[in-house]
């Protein structure tokens, strides 16, 4: 009610992490590609885990893979490498998580996301903009 709405960041800017305990100096942008079983509830399970560690997910895209039983989650987080290692260890414990990979070339990801966006859904464009 009291929050001035005009101060909201533009839709395509990356939101800063609101977590007070993070040391800003050690934080950096990471992209995780996570293969999960395509079951109801799996997105909730993953997001609950991030929330429990007070990690803000900057962007999250879930899509199908060539295997209908498997989905791919692409998750962008702004954390330190050490924190990232801990959260991926916990993520790996989830029974429905099949494989986790950190995507390391930020620029390449952005270009690929823009390429996809040319003839794809709008959320991918928002994600690509976050890298820019």
């Amino acid at each position: 009610m009291t929050a001035p709405t005009t101060d909201l960041p533009a839709p395509d800017t990356a939101y800063p992490s609101t977590t007070p305990t993070r040391k800003v100096s050690t934080m950096s942008r990471h992209a995780l590609s996570v293969l999960v079983e395509n079951n109801p509830g799996v997105l909730a399970r993953v997001s609950v885990l991030f929330a429990r560690r007070s990690f803000n997910i900057d962007h999250l895209v879930v899509g199908p893979t060539e295997d209908p039983k498997v989905s791919r989650m692409t998750i962008l987080v702004n954390v330190s490498s050490e924190q990232l290692h801990k959260v991926t260890s916990q993520l790996d414990k989830l029974i429905e998580v099949i494989h986790i990979e950190e995507l390391d070339d930020a620029a390449a990801i952005r270009e690929q996301l823009w390429a996809i966006n040319d003839n794809g859904p709008r959320p991918v464009g928002a994600m690509a903009a976050a890298w820019g």
Binding site: R45, R52, I95
Partner: protein
């Protein structure tokens, strides 16, 4: 027409008879070897209870509250090493299981909870007694399933048992909609689900074993930090072999009491907030911590930045997420504790045979000095009232190391971990991680079902006892003769101790001035149990003997103890282990005789 009938009959003899989802669930329980279920029925789970009616080889124990069913399943599992099973209906029945599930998750207890849910068509409509228990339990279980297809019930339940007892053990919930329970199974599954993301690693890499032993050989002040994982893995014999082969001092955490015999000369006691001075000092001053199935919990480490500042760390665990979680490691050993410790023994034996000569003599002498200088002790109350530590010590001495002891959470729990001598694993059951008041009575009930020939004592506080004592009715009706010692100080003792020490004796809501309400002896009798009372040191032994003599029903002893007794030693919360107080305002000097 008649031909068709004959053909159908012939087919029936070849194939299993048509069965409902509930029947397939019961068959699966029988197939995986379940003998006991703790539960309480309700509307949504009635098809399952109908299938249970008269099922061969399955005994269902009807509890008075679902939380009791959950803790009973935990106690059963912790005492026997087998998977504990509990069952409840939808909505409140299921949510009452959340505390035991969270407890089992923290303490890695293998357990399967089965709940009924409203029919799948009603899900999401805020139907009567509907709760999304699969989602509610996501952060507090190893895994949670929701099944709405009768064809998937059997495989899912079988997979739940597989998940609960392999890798790092833990609780698994299977929620089944009522329509799936009632419908016919049309297409039986393959026996278990395919779980492509679940591949627990049980064997450490040879390099990590070599690196660990190299660190052990170079160390001068090593300590074996033994945790509850060694109990769950059944690795006590391996731990003892490693300790005796190397001569390295041992500490056992709250969850590992009994994993290494208390009477063993290498045993330095329990580390942590209320640990022995020798165990805390051994960790603080060590140059190498060999952690076996432990997790560097805050109650063990105290303030982490000053915990064991000179120690390198070897961390063995079945769960890769534990290795390095709270403390950076030098060598991680990923695998089952039995396998890991066996391989450490083999490698260490080989290296010493090849001429390596580790020298721990000076360090062992120093640890033994701490152990003899700072033994556990307590003051008898000056007014002649009963010391709670004395009561607990005598129960341990009279019931002996073959008995099983459960406890609630608080002062009595710490005294029971300190003053009872544990010589074997699976004899000490408590809520270590979650710290659930009310664990003792239902856990004792479960342990007694699992180990009917053992004496089972619940060492409980008067606060904890009032959270779950309704299960005394279950024990009385079902013939489960547990023994309960209520260490009754008419207060929430641990809260009161903190208020004494850290809140200027402002006893906000920790006292129970109406200590005689309820009268525990009359309460016991009302529940069909024997009730005894003791308030004098002279009567302690005779009262315990009298309780031991009762074998045809549960017995509750109300021990009226001194309310100002405190748990010592103590590391105040959030401070360094170096700040340990042996008794109030009495700090030991670790560094003397260095």
């Amino acid at each position: 027409m008649s031909t068709v009938t004959r053909t159908a009959a012939a087919t029936d003899t070849d194939r299993p008879a048509p069965r409902t989802g509930a029947e397939s669930l019961v068959e699966t329980l029988q197939r995986v070897g379940v003998e006991h279920i703790f539960g309480l029925p309700g509307g949504a789970v009635l098809p399952l209870y109908d299938a249970l009616y008269g099922a061969r080889g399955l005994r269902h124990i009807l509890v008075r509250h679902e939380q009791g069913a959950g803790h009973a399943a935990q106690g059963y599992a912790a005492a026997t090493g087998r998977v504990g099973v509990c069952m409840a209906t939808s909505g409140p029945g299921a949510t009452n299981l959340v505390t035991p599930l969270a407890d089992a998750n923290m303490d890695s207890v293998p357990m399967v909870a089965i709940t009924g849910n409203v029919p799948s068509a009603a899900m999401g409509s805020d139907a009567f007694q509907e709760a999304d228990i699969r989602s509610i339990t996501m952060p507090v279980t190893k895994h949670s399933f929701l099944v709405t297809d009768p064809n998937l019930i059997a495989d899912t339940v079988a997979s739940a048992f597989h998940l609960a007892q392999t890798g790092r053990p833990g609780p698994v919930l299977v929620d089944v909609s009522k329509d799936a329970l009632a419908a016919l199974v049309t297409q039986p599954g393959r026996g278990e689900l395919v779980l492509p993301g679940y591949r627990p690693q049980t064997e450490p890499t040879p390099e990590s074993v070599r690196d660990a032993v190299e660190l052990m050989l170079r160390s001068r002040r090593p300590v074996l930090y033994v945790g509850g994982g060694t109990v769950r893995a059944g690795a006590h014999a391996q731990v003892r072999a490693l300790a005796e082969l190397t001569g390295i001092p041992v500490v056992t955490t709250l969850m590992a009491r009994g994993a290494f015999p208390d009477s063993h000369p290498q045993h330095m006691g329990m580390p942590g907030m209320h640990g022995t001075v020798s165990a805390v000092a051994a960790l603080q001053k060590s140059d190498l911590i060999i952690s076996l199935g432990a997790r560097f919990d805050d109650r063990v480490t105290g303030a982490r930045d000053s915990f064991a500042p000179h120690a390198k760390v070897i961390h063995a665990d079945i769960d890769p997420a534990e290795i390095g979680k709270n403390r950076p490691v030098d060598v991680g050993l990923l695998g089952d504790a039995r396998v890991v410790v066996d391989q450490l023994v083999t490698e260490f034996t080989m290296r010493t045979a090849q001429g390596a000569e580790p020298d721990y003599a000076a360090w062992v002498t120093r640890c033994l000095m701490w152990k003899s200088r700072y033994p556990l002790g307590y003051d008898e109350p000056a007014d002649g009232s009963l010391a709670p530590q004395h009561v607990i010590q005598r129960i341990g001495a009279i019931a002996g190391p073959d008995a099983i002891y459960t406890s609630g959470v608080g002062q009595h729990q710490m005294w029971a971990s300190q003053f009872i001598g544990y010589e074997r694993p699976h004899a000490w059951l408590n809520s270590g991680g979650l710290g659930t008041m009310g664990y003792a009575v239902p856990a004792a009930m479960g342990a007694k079902i699992g180990c009917p020939d053992s004496t089972v004592w619940a060492i409980d506080g008067d606060g904890c006892f009032q959270m779950t004592n309704q299960e005394l009715a279950t024990c009385a009706v079902e013939g489960i003769p547990i023994k309960v010692a209520v260490i009754n100080n008419a207060a929430l003792g641990m809260v009161r101790q903190w208020q004494t020490l850290f809140y200027s004796e402002r006893y906000s809501n920790s006292g129970a001035p109406s200590a005689q309400v309820p009268d525990f002896v009359m309460l016991a009798q009302a529940y069909g149990c024997a009730g005894l009372r003791c308030d004098s040191p002279a009567d302690v032994d005779a009262t315990i003997e009298a309780a031991m003599a009762v074998d045809d029903r549960p017995v509750v002893v109300d021990f009226r103890v001194h309310k100002d007794a405190m748990v010592w030693p103590m590391v105040p919360a959030g401070t360094s282990n170096d700040a340990i107080q042996y008794a109030r305002d009495l700090a030991p000097d670790f560094d003397e005789d260095e």
